[in-house]
Symmetry: C2
Subunit: 325 residues, 2 copies
Amino acid sequence: VAREAGVSQPTVSRVLRGDPRVLPDTKARILNAVEALGYVPASAGRNLRTRSSGQVAMVADLGNPLYPRLMEPVHDVLAEGGLRMVLLTERDDDTVLQQHLFDRSVDGVLLTTTSQGSRLPRELRRRDVPFVFLNRYLPGVSADRVVADNRAGGRAVAELLLGLGHRDIAVLMGTREASTSQDRERGFREVLEARGVALDPRRVAYGGYSHEDGVAGFARVFDRDRPPTALFCVNDFVAVGAMNAAIVAGVDVPGELAVVGFDDVGLASWPAFSLSTVHVPVADMARTAAGMLVDRIRGTAPHRPRHQSYDTYLVLRNTHGRPRS
Amino acid sequence: VAREAGVSQPTVSRVLRGDPRVLPDTKARILNAVEALGYVPASAGRNLRTRSSGQVAMVADLGNPLYPRLMEPVHDVLAEGGLRMVLLTERDDDTVLQQHLFDRSVDGVLLTTTSQGSRLPRELRRRDVPFVFLNRYLPGVSADRVVADNRAGGRAVAELLLGLGHRDIAVLMGTREASTSQDRERGFREVLEARGVALDPRRVAYGGYSHEDGVAGFARVFDRDRPPTALFCVNDFVAVGAMNAAIVAGVDVPGELAVVGFDDVGLASWPAFSLSTVHVPVADMARTAAGMLVDRIRGTAPHRPRHQSYDTYLVLRNTHGRPRS
């Protein structure tokens, strides 16, 4: 192919890897030669030679609508680096997951759904597989990490609701094992405790991260005889689920119940919801984490793990208000 | 590993592939042996021997919220078959896409975003790479195909709206190159033509498949001086986008404007929208297509391509109504 196109062999490799650093003219010449010769490099042969697969695994949870939003930017950054994205999910049996990650078919791993009991991060470290924590992390495992300042976000929501005069507050959190949910809850509780406001355990529920979890959570914490006046939700999907359950229950938001979400995903700004929430720069975080992983794989990253925490801030729309007196 | 666990070599391979057809006891014995010996099969070596990668590519469009809903069932069926899912997106440069698909790093391909001008299906056929069309297809390319009866769905929407008395109807369709959008529009127009009802070209817009496309589409087809009384949308995300735009514009749905979507995805049933739409069994379709591809890869599929078309039907909720007289 190099001879046919009149270029060097490394240039051909660059084009076939999808590396953007090749002039369009040269690229066209190489692709014409590739087509004329019907040449396709066999990836398996390449793997044994370079000990690299050109693939990165992203471990995600497809049941949580946040993850598709992380996937697109990760995919794009990897593609710019000539890497493909293999999608593995939490639903994979832990053993299957480990086999896929340790058989050298991937050059690195993006972990986005780490739970506190997970053995995977330590195994990756032990086997020297490059990886980056995105969104969730495991404290105590030394690795690159890109997260949002969830604790500050939780504190901001508590300040907002207390400032509006709410004292009877309900909370719908996520899984207890996720650092995101833990940190959001911790920040929220810190402020309540500092102000001497108690959180009734019957008004606190733990669940997942989907619309359905919000619908189910509303039923668990909204007691008609002693209704809460405000509801803090672990993310926007749960908040919107709770708002839809409130419509069915005939509970006016925010008149009877203030609702605050977290993440500021697209549907929070839809006029039908206009949800007050905490902004998390999810796409920026995903791009940064993917870039860190590419550097780590290429060996151009510093030896020390890098920790990047993104600021979060309140976005005030129409679902917060004062309690009725 | 086989000796340590006291089982046959093929049984070990089955467990490492994630094949569910192994007794739990046997599986535990093998995994203990794997752990004790620290054994990991090198995928690249395996590839050269078996000429199989254990990977399937799914070509999807991450910008369209329908695709994550296809991914989860596809992932699960492939995992049951011991195969992994590599995610490639429409955003990949066509050449990069072809290199990834033709370098033997995948055993088969699920095409979900085929557009009418795409050369990919013919190239896959020419190079004997097994593939299945899911959701969209290319007429004239002989291959396995799993689709919904979109034309019947489009006809049903037209029958509904005409039956309610609507004559001033606007339409928001998708890309002109997608068989899904084409078939939905064709069915819809067939019924209108048969009844002698004209569709004003100024009330027909083409765009994408997201909420944002619905917001933009509403602005293009809703003329305040001569408002349409009904709006048919290519999918539910577009319909909900149009409904949110209607809230901002102060247009009452369905009082002033009936809205009908397509697909019956989760948010159509949310009480905030309660969207009348056409049901498409997306998860069943995805599972069937993934199963067909697994059979095709294993060589257990019939030589003739299989075409499966799923029935669609109207789901009547609260966004259709008679025009104001």
